[in-house]
Symmetry: C2
Subunit: 221 residues, 2 copies
């Protein structure tokens, strides 16, 4: 199948949602064309392929678009199911994995964003909520090597991109994830030993530079 | 398997998310115990089974909880996969179905809620957004009998509970879905011919009574 597949990813380098797709494609060993989008001047192709949300990432597989990163990752897992499956076969474990991905989707982006966009008391509240979320996630990880147990799975793919944003959150929020969630940081380091993750995540310093740039754009500080 | 399964649904009668689970269980012919929750005084069981969100619906299958309605419906489909499958086998069609369910999850509840909680200009804006959403959904339905094509599928299960809320939205917002989205209304009537839907949805007048009650509670009008 790989020989005839044409896979294109419309993406934006520092996007954690884009990184999910990059990790998933790398885990499956899929060759693809990466196209960086200018989010202030979106390409006609992006607007055509994702007319509802007009957002990256979009996976275009043989001309047909798949949108929304958690759905893209499951799609990749279902099409290329033989290599490194992200979901176990047991329906209950599948539902649990989807539950955690859904929680990350509902909370992680906003929780992190508030840490670097808010100030004073609002920022303290944001930090509290951020750390509550990550402590809940750490509780689910427990002593397992991965959220998927012995295997790097759907929840790991969904959460690992946030790991390279930790430095920006910590620096803007004046706290240390190592001190707050050491098991989760150890999990992040463990994931980074995988080539799929190491080559898909962005340097934390580059994420921080992006955050500083956005703070200027938004007129924060 | 059915003989040994114990299935409990923690629910709230007028909840569209609860109705999704009731429709899904009925489609599969699953016997279950229904437990109505008092949302102002949630049961210890609900808090124990869904400690993260503390929300209904929760499906408890042989003592183990599954939370979040879209995940519950997929779980039901995977456990009882032989009867009336909600998802096709093609990965692309599965991803498309998940995309529409995700859009409904992200927008339909809030869009509807704004129609009956807002007034004046804010309500006009809410109505516009509400109708935009439903016209987008109607566009996806097209001339198919169901969102799932010839088969009543995942998107149908996810959206049909909102159909019994249309009367409340229309009455509070002073518009007619029949005039705005006649194909979608025809779809709703078609779905109501299914026993699974007819017995799971609440009488639209009862939904409207609930909305009037909540408006009083919130001090609206």
């Amino acid at each position: 199948m790989a020989g005839v597949d044409k896979v294109v990813l419309l993406d934006f380098k520092v996007s954690m949602f884009g990184m999910r797709c990059r990790v998933a494609l790398a885990e499956k060993g899929i060759q693809y064309e990466y196209r960086e989008e200018d989010l202030r001047n979106k390409s006609p192709l992006l607007l055509e392929m994702n007319p509802i949300h007009k957002k990256i990432p979009v996976l275009i597989h043989n001309g047909k678009p798949v949108c929304e990163s958690a759905i893209i990752v499951q799609y990749i897992d279902e099409v290329w199911h033989d290599k490194n499956p992200f979901l176990p076969s047991d329906p209950y474990q599948r539902a649990q994995a989807r539950f955690w991905v859904d929680l990350i989707d509902k909370k992680a982006y906003d929780a992190g964003r508030r840490v670097w966009t808010k100030k004073g008391e609002e920022q303290e509240k944001a930090k509290k909520e951020f750390l509550e979320l990550y402590k809940t996630l750490e509780g689910e990880l427990g002593d397992k090597p991965y959220f998927g147990g012995e295997k790097f799975g759907l929840v790991d793919v969904a959460l690992i991109p946030f790991y390279c944003w930790f430095y920006a959150y910590e620096t803007c929020g004046n706290f240390k994830m190592e001190a707050e969630c050491s098991k989760l940081v150890a999990w992040g380091k463990r994931c980074m030993e995988r080539e799929s993750v190491a080559k898909s995540l962005v340097d934390p310093k580059e994420v921080y530079e992006f955050v500083l740039h956005m703070k200027k754009v938004f007129g924060i500080e």
